[in-house]
């Protein structure tokens, strides 16, 4: 009768798993923090929080866009390259290399607007490619993954652009009420996305398209438009992230801006508990996922784990975190 006993495992178990699932990411994060408090030299300082916040911002911003894309059942490999394009474009503008500037401030204003719009446009192009020709997202965005960085490098001839423009660099270095401005940006974006996903028609449409495209179409949802929009949004997010990166470094290096960002962002989304198969999404989860990944990176560096070993540990933690997330979905 042991078998029958094994089988007779009703409600309680499932609920326990439900909890785990809901708080899986939080648990993982808490464990990491505890570990650091125990082992990492002077971890419990404001500066530590500061460092981690500023470092995680770009990942989160990109990952939010990625979350929406993934919720429609897609994926966007081009984000890193789009960051590079935006990052390479901005200095060209405010340094007046691209177009003559009546007034420096105009240049700075344009340096915010144009690059983000451009990378947004490229994002939309991804969406167009994917919807117009029914190309698999992975391949459709692979095109710009390859060509995008090339474009950025061509723009600058691969040269490093250095600058000191406080007004512009405010998005990277500035602070409001002592909080890094980029962190505020990040929180605003996370908030917006969460709200949109929960409350708006667009949010529902995203999930429906990701959940069952044919059904969505037959219910009158403009599948194509929804997809193009999420890729557009992903592009905009990438553009913004690109600007932040160059602002912090007071230098734009088309070769390196956002290199490998797509993987970080996707990992954050997955660790955060969004299904890569689409049809479900949690932006807050993504935020947690990004924090986890960031904190792992910090922990490994701060404790002097050599790069090679760090890679292995990272792998283990990603799998573990995602597995925790999966529990209860089973």
């Amino acid at each position: 009768m042991a078998e029958a006993l094994r089988l007779r495992a009703p409600a309680p178990r499932t609920e326990a798993l439900g909890l785990l699932r809901r708080y899986g990411a939080v648990t993982a994060l808490a464990l990491l923090v505890l570990f650091n408090l125990a082992f990492t030299p002077n971890f419990a300082t404001l500066q530590t929080l500061n460092v981690n916040l500023t470092q995680v911002c770009t990942i989160v911003i990109v990952a939010v866009g990625m979350t929406l894309v993934i919720a429609t059942g897609g994926i966007d490999l081009s984000v890193g390259s789009l960051m590079a394009i935006a990052g390479a474009l901005a200095p060209l503008i405010f340094l007046g290399k691209l177009l003559p500037l009546p007034h420096p401030l105009v240049g700075i204003a344009l340096a915010f607007v144009i690059p983000i719009l451009v990378s947004g446009a490229f994002g939309w192009f991804n969406g167009w490619l994917i919807t117009r020709f029914r190309i698999q997202p992975i391949v459709g965005t692979l095109v710009l993954f390859i060509a995008g960085r090339g474009i950025a490098q061509v723009l600058t001839n691969g040269n490093l652009q250095v600058f000191k423009v406080p007004e512009f660099q405010f998005i990277g270095l500035g602070r409001m009420l002592g909080i890094p401005f980029q962190a505020i940006l990040m929180l605003v974006i996370v908030g917006l996305a969460t709200w949109a996903l929960r409350r708006t028609v667009f949010g529902r449409e995203i999930l429906a398209v990701g959940g069952n495209e044919r059904a969505a179409r037959l219910s009158g949802i403009p599948v194509g438009r929804v997809k193009r929009r999420v890729y557009l949004i992903s592009g905009l997010c990438a553009g913004l992230a690109g600007l932040i990166v160059i602002a912090i470094n007071s230098a734009a290096d088309a070769n390196l801006i956002g290199l490998g960002m797509e993987l970080d962002a996707i990992a954050a989304v997955a660790v955060g508990g969004t299904l890569l198969t689409g049809g479900s999404a949690t932006v807050l989860g993504t935020l947690l996922g990004a924090l986890i990944i960031q904190l792992v990176r910090y922990t490994l560096l701060a404790n002097g784990v050599p790069d090679a070993a760090a890679l292995v540990v990272k792998a283990g933690i990603i799998v573990l975190a995602v597995w925790l997330q999966r529990q209860g979905r089973a």
Partner: protein, 301 residues
């Protein structure tokens, strides 16, 4: 083994330049210098870019051989995996001149398998950085090392040279050593973290100027003063770096000059004439610090 292939004298040559990658200012300057010189001489330059893959670089060299170039300038991605390329060229009767990195001497020798190696000595660069730092801190410092891309030979050599030079100075302690991928952004993030974990650090040694620039940003973000609270030394000698020295933020940087063009083609001409070429045409790299930064910045890259 067979003889080293000769190069007959011609007015115009078709030469190949197999570049490793083009993703940092140093490489870009090197490529520019090679192209400029080739243009000046009116030679045809077959330029390939291996995008950081030794394997692709060998394939690139092979495609040059297929195109029957007269001579190949090769900037090896790594010491060992490029041996087959060198040998293939030799077999095809095309002389090879190595730039800025050598190949494994156990497997191929200058004057026998390839003409010569033109370049600096990464190990020595590391040593010179160390010696300056020892002087600047009179032998007492807690050092954070920002390494280059894990596994790349300049990273390995610059680390080797630096650490060997420190051995004899117990006061010089490396408290943390992590990779910043030769990149400013990564360098900054790593520096931020390490400074946070090791507030007692008094010096930073970066394997290249870009990471040093990142480190400076990190130090300032941490509310400390670069050059005073924390002494920095690095390698390359970029214009940025020299400016930083002038601003008193960067202590010193060991030059690693990317402008190979003139010397490379001169060596080629000499070889064509049949002159004897030394196994290693050393770049006499300068050393930049507060004493000479001002006058040198003009012709920095």
């Amino acid at each position: 083994a067979a003889e080293l292939p000769k190069l007959e004298q011609k007015a115009k040559y078709k030469v190949g330049f197999a570049q490793t990658e083009s993703n940092n200012p140093w490489r870009i300057a090197q490529t520019e210098s090679m192209k400029a010189e080739a243009e000046k001489l009116g030679y045809q330059l077959v330029y390939t870019d291996a995008a950081g893959s030794a394997a692709k670089q060998v394939a690139d060299v092979n495609s040059m051989i297929a195109q029957k170039v007269d001579l190949i300038f090769l900037a090896p991605r790594e010491e060992k995996p490029l041996i087959p390329a060198v040998m293939a060229a030799k077999k095809a009767g095309i002389p090879v001149i190595l730039l800025d990195r050598n190949v494994d001497q156990k497997l191929a020798q200058a004057g026998k398998d390839y003409v010569t190696f033109i370049g600096s000595d990464f190990v020595d660069e590391g040593r010179r950085a160390a010696e300056w730092l020892i002087g600047a801190t009179n032998g007492k410092a807690k050092i954070i090392q920002l390494e280059g891309t894990t596994g790349s030979s300049p990273a390995n050599d610059r680390r080797k040279g630096f650490e060997e030079a420190l051995k004899s100075h117990p006061g010089m302690e490396i408290v943390a050593s992590q990779s910043g991928d030769f990149a400013r952004d990564k360098g900054r993030q790593v520096a931020e973290t390490l400074l946070q974990a090791h507030p007692d650090a008094t010096a930073i040694y970066a394997h290249n100027d870009e990471m040093a620039m990142g480190a400076i940003a990190a130090i300032e973000a941490a509310g400390k003063v670069p050059g005073k609270d924390i002494v920095l030394v690095s390698i390359d000698g970029t214009r940025d770096a020299l400016q930083a020295i002038i601003d008193g933020k960067l202590g010193a940087t060991v030059e690693c000059n990317p402008r190979f063009g003139p010397k490379a083609f001169a060596t080629m001409a000499a070889y064509a004439k049949g002159e004897k070429i030394p196994a290693w045409v050393k770049n006499d790299d300068k050393f930049f610090d507060a004493s000479n930064a001002r006058e040198e910045i003009a012709n920095a890259y």
